[in-house]
Amino acid sequence: MSKGNSKRGVTRRPSKNSSGDLEFVQLLTPQGEPIKHPDYSVNFTDEEYRALYRDMVIVRRLDAESLSLQRQGELALWASLLGQEAAQVGSARALREKDMVFPTYREHGVLWCRGLDPILPLKLFRCVNQGSWDPESHRFHMYTIVIGAHALHAVGYAMGVTKDGKVGSDDGEAVIVYFGDGASSQGDVAEAMSWAAVFNAPVVFFCQNNQYAISEPVERQARIPIYQRARGFGFPGIRVDGNDVLASYAVTRAALDAARHGQGPTLIEAYTYRMGAHTSSDDPTRYRVDAEVEAWKAKDPISRMRAFLTQQQIAGPDFFEAIDEEADKHAIELRERVLAMPDPEPVSMFDHVYPGGSPLLDDERAELVRYLESFESEGVR
């Protein structure tokens, strides 16, 4: 039979964004100069600008302290947010109190902005518990380590928001789910996007593309920019400079507002960089070169904001120094609290397996209690 033929008319390999180009929303240059964007802007008071800076400095300082605690053997692991402060603080500050957050294991900056006690993630990483905070208290769900699984939880939650009649006006509630570039490959994340589209769920997919999933560069996950994934499901996707706290704020705010007003989901790709190792167990020198890290240093989210504040005379050396001091204080307090943190009681391992309890577990608990007591009576073997 004869051949069909076609002009396929679709670019097969859209040229990948380099981090330097402008195929993303940016409101501050790496040098801290404000730039105009046709669709997005912010209109902060000086106080608010300073508050964003403060958040970023404090979360970076707490992060550094946590890493050092890990190095000293006080934590089993630490997943550093270094380099991602703007994406996290900008997006988190765009949330309203009633909005709900579903984080990964790296959203310490978001956690801080939601007002949770910054010690909480350290309990998880010290392995005294499993990140067991109350998700409702600050509307910030527990961390999720299984990549992508929580995206479905976020969408289900958002479906519930709709059912509760809490979308469709400026009083509406929105949901945001954080995940990484690597997570974008998981079936669960794709299913979450499908469901969000079909149910027009009030959810924002916030993907921090920090260029790596452990050792694998983002090209292993996608051959076109991740924000474009949304097009295939029928909702908007947008890329923002994730090292620009103002742009991160503006883009997230718009997406959350669209969601709460009933316009459905948005995918935001925050283009950023993981400056540190994947976790304290990782050795990034095995898979990336210094030059790359150096290039990203020039786009640092905090120095950029500091330059902006200085240039705009919103803040000066005294302010910066005061913030650094405040951050140090927080860090010292964090350290002290970690050092004082008790281990859980062994028998607590039987608590909360079932809300309704289980006689089997009661027996096993009794078995362990008896066993542990046998050492007390007879002395350690």
């Binding site: 998700p135 527990m142 479905l152 939880h153 939650y157 669960d188 469901w195 397996v353 079932y354 309704g356």
Partner: protein, 329 residues
Amino acid sequence: MADTLTLGKALNSGLRRAMEENPKVLIMGEDVGKLGGVFRITDGLQKDFGEERVIDTPLAESGIIGTAIGLALRGYRPICEIQFDGFVYPAFDQIVSQLAKMHYRSQGKVTLPVVIRIPYAGGIGAVEHHSESPEAYFCHTPGLKVVSCASPQDAYWMIQQAVASDDPIIFLEPKRRYYEKGVVDTSLSLDQAYPLHASRVLREGSDATLVAYGPTVRVALDAAEAAAEDDNRSLEVIDLRSLSPLDLDPVYESVRRTGRLVVIHEAPRTLGLGAEIAARVTEQCFYSLEAPVQRVTGYDTPYPPARIEDEYLPDLDRVLDAVDRTFTF
């Protein structure tokens, strides 16, 4: 009030009542709405409770359980239907790593009252993936509870109890028994109904004990009947009902009297529930057992083509054969 209902209709009525009792109860799954499910267990519910409460979902099992978790976090009580046993596996991570563990991980701050209904097991002459018995996977998973109903009365009450429970529950429905009829007493209150996580002696006997659940309960009862008539043997029959946690005290009590135990299930033998029951009963009744616990189960093969499933599934003869073995050991 007592009605004679099929097991399937009893489930339908129980679901209806659960939805009436609590506006937070939702039903979600593939084809559960207009179609009423491929087995019609949710028949009429979308019509009466609306599309907001009876949700036809996208074709994605991980999505069904994952979004149900999110809905539960928001205060809803989702009942998920998995269309057939063999299609639950794409949701496995959401079930065993997410649903099962969140209460524990949160140290009790989060509860997820999600019920996962699964028409399960074989005997309906179906094509592959439609006849499996996955209960052991779930019973081995701490944080899940697992139950199976074997009569219309239990179907009606157990589904309501499962929905009312704050535990995540895998609710296994013996699909080949959907059309069997029985009397259902609908006049009780939930508290008065036989407890969800308790096994039950269905027939008393003194010579040997049969333990079954779900679709094999009928097999056990028939075997006991035949043994009484043909062999003049008195077999005690216990319906486990709760597969996790197991309620084995009645089994121990029985075995201490009879000295002989046969466990019957359709799942493959290796690491099927029979293994756990054998291990525990042997431990608790070591000096009472006259013979090792016998297991009458599916074989350790994938579920075979249905034209030979009769030889795969435990039936009356295989049960009686095993009873014989306990006498001649």
